[in-house]
Symmetry: C2
Subunit: 174 residues, 2 copies
């Protein structure tokens, strides 16, 4: 197998979310890749994630259904591109499962972003984890729209929920 590519954020097109947290990388990976866990944290409350489908390999499905407090549902359909166990998870909404060019295109109507590719990178820091999310857009306008729609707050709130899930996994495993 060839070595994975390096990802280089482009400030004009990309958004980056980065945190350090005192939980182990392996559990963050687990919370990110098990659909039952993902449903608990993926969408900042009061929104919820009511469905999650994951086929954890390149070309495999990554589908989530988010529900608004009013009960409106929105589906995100994409596929995984890089699955590097415990280290890196990359997916895109520009392709459907099986790498098929996306027919739906965007969820611009609900949260101000269009088709994106996201890279979650996990790095060990002592007993903790450095968590970096790189979100790539197809245009400056898409990036600005996503930022204005609350990218940093949204990813921050979801991350807090993710950490709670990990702490419950720690307690359950202790």
């Amino acid at each position: 197998m060839t070595r994975p590519i390096a990802h280089h954020p482009d400030p004009e097109l990309d958004l980056v979310f980065e945190r350090s947290v005192d939980v182990p990388r392996e559990l963050v990976w687990q919370a990110w890749t098990d659909p039952e866990h993902v449903k608990q944290w993926f969408t900042p409350a009061p929104w919820s994630t009511v469905e999650c489908e994951i086929d954890l390999r390149p070309g495999g499905i990554f589908r989530t259904v988010m529900r608004s407090p009013e009960g409106d549902e929105h589906t995100n359909l994409g596929c995984f591109l890089e699955v590097i166990e415990g280290e890196r998870l990359t997916w895109t909404e520009a392709l459907e499962p099986g790498f098929r060019p996306s027919r739906t295109g965007s969820h611009i109507e609900t949260c101000g972003t269009s088709t994106l590719t996201a890279v979650i990178q996990l790095t060990s820091e002592g007993n903790g984890t450095k968590y970096t999310a790189l979100v790539m857009h197809r245009s400056k306008e898409d990036r600005e729209g996503h930022e204005a729609a609350g990218f940093h707050d949204g990813w921050g709130a979801a991350f807090e929920q993710l950490v709670e899930v990990v702490r419950r996994l720690q307690t359950a495993g202790a």
Copy 2:
């Protein structure tokens, strides 16, 4: 590493080109993945491929520049998705190198197709090779447009040129 996904053609959205040829799979792979070889066969004459850039790994660049008989040039920019040595090569124009959602979108203006994903599958048949190209489109209209623009003739002519390159590699290696 997880097992690769299976590809399932959708007759409404996809085009399939298939040939059996009496040259070894390894040399077909070589002709497909070395930019100097690709330039010799990728574009049916009298068009030519004047540039080719290949970073043979998922997320790596696949860029070609085609030149018309009149000297007009057109660039195709995409990235690889699956690189399974000697067996399968998948790339898309829906993503730029590094998996970034594509900004240019399509080359609909020159050959009637829009953003596509292609899977080249090579299978050994005795001493020969079964060559299957699956080309996925985002809509029925895209598929029909690509077909009407001469998909089968174009891929057929390019394939004949590819086989010529392989026979020269065989002679050189004999």
